[in-house]
């Protein structure tokens, strides 16, 4: 309102909820309520997801709450190059952006290409071409999806991998083009699957690509439980094996 572009950092995913009212009820709605008189160009960085052996409230995936909220944009990079460019695009946006950072990938090194202009913030990226099944992943699960595709290839299963990058809005044209080609889809995330991003994406694929599907859209996610103690998280979190198990199921229809 005062003309600043604020970039705020929530320390951990599970710590965002004290600010939830201000984010979902105030920040997300102010442009709408003011009929465009006020803009809210605020970026909220939230390190999210598990896999780091942390104590409670440090490993959650709250993205569905924010993606469900009209007025917010929600994005999540999966690699250093996207993290670099998507942050700058998020700051450029006149709308509030929830910027989810897969914290267990903070140590992942990768090249950042400063010479090529980035793709639009809300576009998904086709990371690996395949013909038999599309695996849709985002944030920390992109690495697991690529591993699954690698292993699949050794067993002559051709897996296409798409990094969604944006969770609100979702790039359906890219998703549907892929599913119309492979005829099968699996959505992967760490969050509980009940009423999740994967629920929505599965519904939309069914709505728009029904006659292309050879099998129902399957979901691979965390269980519908609170995030478990760290010594159990390996069994809680999806990984390449869990994705491949779903690949086997989707191919057996």
């Amino acid at each position: 309102m005062r003309g600043y572009k604020s970039v705020v950092e929530i320390q951990f995913d599970g710590f965002v909820f004290p600010a939830f009212n201000q984010i979902t009820s105030q920040l997300a709605k102010l442009t709408y309520r003011s009929e465009g008189f006020s803009q809210m160009p605020i970026v909220i960085r939230i390190p999210y997801g598990g896999g780091i052996g942390a104590v409670e409230h440090h490993s959650e995936s709250p993205e569905a709450y924010f993606a469900h909220t009209p007025g917010l944009r929600v994005v999540t990079p999966s690699n250093p190059n996207d993290a670099y460019w998507m942050m700058q695009q998020a700051i450029e946006s006149p709308d509030p952006v929830i910027f989810l950072e897969p914290k267990r990938r903070y140590w992942q090194k990768g090249p950042v290409n400063l010479d090529v202009s980035p793709m639009p913030l809300h576009n998904a990226r086709l990371l690996r071409e395949g013909t038999q099944v599309t695996v849709l992943a985002y944030g920390p699960m992109v690495t697991a999806a690529l591993q699954a595709a690698e292993i699949g290839a050794e067993e002559d299963v051709s897996i296409e991998v798409i990094d969604l990058r944006s969770l609100s809005p979702i790039d359906y044209p890219t998703i549907l083009a892929s599913v119309q080609k492979t005829n099968r889809a699996i959505v992967v995330h760490e969050a509980p699957t009940n009423v999740s991003l994967s629920s929505e994406i599965a519904a939309r694929i069914a709505e728009h690509a029904f006659y292309h599907l050879e099998a129902p859209v399957l979901r691979v996610g965390g269980f519908d439980t609170p995030y478990p103690p760290a010594k159990l998280e390996e069994a809680y979190l999806p990984d390449a094996d869990r994705i491949l198990e779903a690949v086997d199921r989707v191919l057996s229809y």
Binding site: M1, Y4, S34, G36, F37, S93
Partner: protein, 381 residues
Amino acid sequence: MQETAKLAVVTPQPEIPMLQLLAPDGTYGVPKEYQRYGEVIETLSEDDLKKFYRDMARIRRFDIEAIALQRQGQLGLWVPAIGQEGAQIGSGYGVGHSDHIFPSYREHGVAITHGVELMSILKMMRGVNHGGWDPEETRFHLYAIVLGTQVLHAVGYAMGVKFDGLVGTGDKDKDLAVISYMGDGATAEGDVSESLLFAAVNDAPVVFFVQNNQWAISSNIKDVTRVPLYRRGEGFGVPGMRIDGNDVLASYAATKIHMDEARSGQGPFLIEALTYRIGAHTTSDDPSKYRDEAEVDEWRAKDPIARFEVFLRRQGISDDFFEEVASAGDALAKDIREQTFALTNPPLENIFNHVYSDPHPEIDRQRQWLKAYEAQMGTHE
């Protein structure tokens, strides 16, 4: 105080210092310790005083008409501010012309002191829109329905003003401050405590104006705080004072002085304006269920408008003025009634406008869908 035997069961209450320049009987006097507030009143012209009266009377007439409009089904809800006109008009005029105001949803009086159209408030309460005025142009930000949220916005805005270097420059045309209005109920919200802390540690140029109307819907002030509200900021480092909120002159002087101080870089301040909500919390509330009519009568006798009228008449203001104000009130009531009946529904595309500032594929798709659906189903005007 001679009847000690009768009072023995009552917890002794230390006398709370309170700025009052105009007693309920209309007597004007400046206590020695409040001399600088009295000096501010000395600078007011007769026209200023008439303006205070005119606006208090105007907003009360408006309020009564709005209740009637709600009862006739013309408004979804109405939030009466009857009894609080002294706090609101006095304080509103104490806010400078470059300052920013963050109200709750009961600040109709403050709104008119800063150029917000009364019809804008009615449109919002009718459901034509959620806001209705330009918060940048009026510097009167949108009503906050979730109480307490606006106080954080005010402090954040004040921190922005400080980042801009517009505090304490000594240039009266450049410097500005921020004021946040809230009720006694909102002070129990976590947002308000966070606001006091952030304001204090950042020396934000902000005044917290608490209208203690003594009832947070059905919760009485006695049941929700152990320490008087003017002291709520102390532990955070925000000094405060209590004023008689039914005294328009005290409300003006206190707001003027403490906004000037905030603007000049002296940090945040809290004003507790003791007042009373004569009407219901909203038109959805029936206060007779939880409070005695005797208490309401006691506060009716402390009415802010009646006491100011006595004061003005003693100043030599003639009958003509009061008759003119009364007939202006009748004209206003007629006018807003007609304008409300003439309101049309907003266009359907307003559902989708301004959800985002940049284009959004889902919103665009749904906008197109509704348009096609409506075309197929016939007109929807």
